[in-house]
């Protein structure tokens, strides 16, 4: 498969009063065309920051401080504001966590879609309208709801609208940041199904962000695991589930309640994620790692790849240099 997105040594920091929050600290990954990459990790590990940086919308006091993001041959980190705006919504779009707050309360549902089309494409109003109605139908919203306001929609329906907005211009990549977290279980399943169907239909790539590895595994081809601003492991879904290498990934898998696995009881990872202003020396996971050794406490492990399986852990660095 052809590579669509190439992130290399990306660093995104927040310059807060408390200090520099190293939310994304040297992450590299690739997404191919048509591929769904699931990005998982505990709260605060930097998933959303990574996602939003792909749209150049890291909120202040945050900033991309290093690395590169190459999207279909375009270096995104060097784009001007205007150039970036042309990519947003058209070639890369985003679905957010909370559908209740992601739509403008004063705008009709249909106007959200029409505005988006007309900003990017120079087409007459009635054509924009037709396409908007079609996009809504595709996510299961009947045309007669076109002139409704967001508050007249349920959470699940609003997330469908957000999805319609995301697929509207047939983008190459959709970033879905916890798209189902705010929804109840049944609606969650419907939304995941919908995403899966659309993705097959349009051959779009999706970066699916979630703290729930169970949800992600339903449609992801590959899974990337983040811990405290680092990418600690990445491999195909089956490989991650069958043969996780990083101790943190194993811990995450044990914390999944629903999937059938060899782990019986619900498990919580002891300890809490580190403070990203003063992350632990060495491997950031070492304070919570059952296998930690001296080197883990003092030096940061390299990222090694064993075929297509990438892991950042001293257990897999053969030589200690």
């Amino acid at each position: 498969m052809k590579c669509l997105l190439n992130i290399n040594e990306l660093k995104v920091y927040y310059f807060t009063r408390r200090g520099v929050v190293r939310a994304v600290d040297g992450v590299s990954l690739n997404i191919s065309r048509g591929e769904v990459l699931g990005l998982v990790g505990e709260s605060g590990s930097g998933k959303s920051t990574l996602g939003i940086s792909l749209l150049g919308l890291v909120p202040p006091p945050g900033r991309v401080v290093g690395g590169s993001i190459i999207f279909d041959g375009i270096e995104l980190t060097k784009l001007s504001a205007d150039e970036f705006a042309k990519i947003r919504g058209r070639r890369i779009s985003m679905i957010f966590q909370d559908p209740m707050t992601s739509l403008n309360p004063l705008m009709k549902i249909g106007d959200h879609l029409m505005e988006t089309i007309m900003i990017h494409e120079n087409i007459p109003k009635n054509e924009a309208r037709e396409r908007s109605i079609k996009a809504l139908e595709e996510v299961g919203i009947p045309p007669e709801r076109f002139n409704d306001y967001p508050h007249q929609f349920s959470g699940g329906m609003r997330q469908r609208v957000m999805i319609a907005l995301a697929i509207l211009l047939n983008p190459d990549l959709i970033i879905a940041d916890e798209p189902t977290t705010a929804l109840d279980v049944i609606v969650q399943a419907q939304i995941i199904d919908l995403l899966n169907n659309l993705r097959k239909q349009y051959n779009m790539s999706i970066l699916l962000i979630s703290h729930d590895i169970g949800v992600v595994s339903e449609i992801a081809d590959k899974i990337a695991v983040m811990y405290a601003g680092h990418l600690v492991e990445m491999a195909d879904v089956d490989v991650i589930f069958k043969d996780p290498l990083h101790p943190y990934t194993s811990a995450l898998l044990r914390a999944v309640p629903l999937i059938e696995s060899k782990y019986e009881k619900l498990y919580y990872i002891p300890g809490s994620p580190p403070d990203l202003v003063n992350p632990p020396k060495g491997c950031r996971f070492h304070p919570r790692c059952p296998h930690a050794t001296d080197i883990c406490r003092t030096r940061e492990p390299r990222t090694v790849s064993i075929e297509d399986h990438i892991v950042k852990c001293w257990m897999y660095c053969d030589t200690y240099e």
Binding site: G89, M94, Y149
Partner: protein, 336 residues
């Protein structure tokens, strides 16, 4: 639903109006001097003073005067002026109201324009030097002394640069034919171009003076509301769809920030009228402020009371209007 609420709101203002009225009634009578002295002078013989006092009904005890006044008012009668031609108070008010309205509207537009632009830009550049300067502006204008500021503008633009007239509302014999009493509007309606520009040139300095005075409040309100709205998810979502930043800020965000700003504008109307009094006297603007001060001086009881009632009713109607606009702007209220 909305109608019931508005009626309730209107009824709730009655006690407030009554208290206000009573206070004005008492203050006017407690102040030394009375309209009789203003009419006949202090050296008039006692018989004359007595007969004038009787004619004005001022020989009655205060409580009788008060009850008479209220019962007239309930019938919608503001009474007659106590001095000179004894014209009906409402006519006197209507002679001066359009001037104040014209000044207020244009000052309001000046202040909204300044307030929205400075407040929005301050919010966009949160915590920058620019933001800090504008925050200072917000505080500065609030403590601005209108007569001083007005005189400064007069000195610069009228005396020194000779660009604009020092005061007044229009030059003699330039008045447009009266339709609404608003000179700008009337001169447009009658296609009287010289009058239009003459009236406009008189309007500029007073509008800026008054506009700047209230703009600071708007700057601060717009800034804080915009800061809040700009943090909302739907703003990020709009940006993520590639909506250009200016559209996101001035269409999506401003409209949402506007709902609380609107309430603020309704509240500022009272401040606007208070500022109008000072602006009018500074610029010899023949409006309600100049008029009210003059009549307070002459102790024209009925006219002062009537004017205060009129202004209070105006403020009440504006706040009702704001409520209606509120409902119109926000579908969540409209559809309830």
């Amino acid at each position: 639903m909305l109608k019931a609420y508005l009626i309730k709101r209107a009824l709730m203002t009655i006690p407030t109006m009554l208290i206000l009225l009573t206070i004005i009634f008492l203050i006017m009578r407690v102040l030394p001097g009375d309209p009789v002295a203003a009419i006949v002078g202090t050296k008039a013989p006692p018989e004359v003073i007595q007969s004038v006092t009787r004619r004005l009904g001022l020989d009655q005890p205060y409580h009788i005067q008060y009850i008479n006044y209220l019962s007239d008012l309930l019938r919608g009668d503001l009474g007659r002026s106590m001095i000179w031609g004894r014209r009906p108070v409402i006519d006197e008010i209507m002679d001066h109201f359009p001037a104040t309205l014209e000044l207020s509207i244009s000052a309001f537009m000046v202040s909204i324009l300044i307030g929205i632009i400075t407040g929005t830009e301050a919010a966009r550049k949160f915590r920058s030097k620019f933001d800090q300067v504008l925050r200072f502006y917000g505080i500065l204008t609030y403590s601005l002394f209108i007569p001083w500021f007005g005189i400064m503008l007069q000195l610069i633009f009228s005396v020194y640069l000779k660009l604009l007239p020092v005061g007044g509302r229009i030059d003699p014999f330039m008045e447009p034919e009266k339709i609404t009493g608003l000179y700008l509007l009337d001169s447009i309606l009658t296609l009287n171009i010289p009058s239009f520009f003459n009236a406009l040139s008189h309007l500029v300095l007073p509008s800026i003076t008054l506009g700047v005075y209230i703009s600071g409040v708007f700057t601060r309100t717009v800034r804080s509301n915009m800061l809040e709205v700009l943090r909302k998810d739907y703003i990020t979502a709009a940006r993520a769809r590639g909506i250009p930043e200016n559209v996101v800020v001035y269409r999506h965000a401003l409209k949402n920030a506007f709902i609380p700003i609107l309430t603020m504008m309704g509240l500022q109307f009272a401040l606007l009228l208070a500022g109008a009094v000072l602006t009018e006297t500074t610029f010899s603007w023949p409006g309600m402020g100049t008029f009210l001060l003059e009549r307070i001086m002459y102790r024209d009881y009925t006219t002062v009371q009537g004017t205060v009632v009129f202004i209070a009713l105006l403020i009440v109607s504006i706040s009702l209007l704001v409520d209606i606009m509120y409902a119109y702007l926000d579908p969540r209220i409209r559809f309830r």
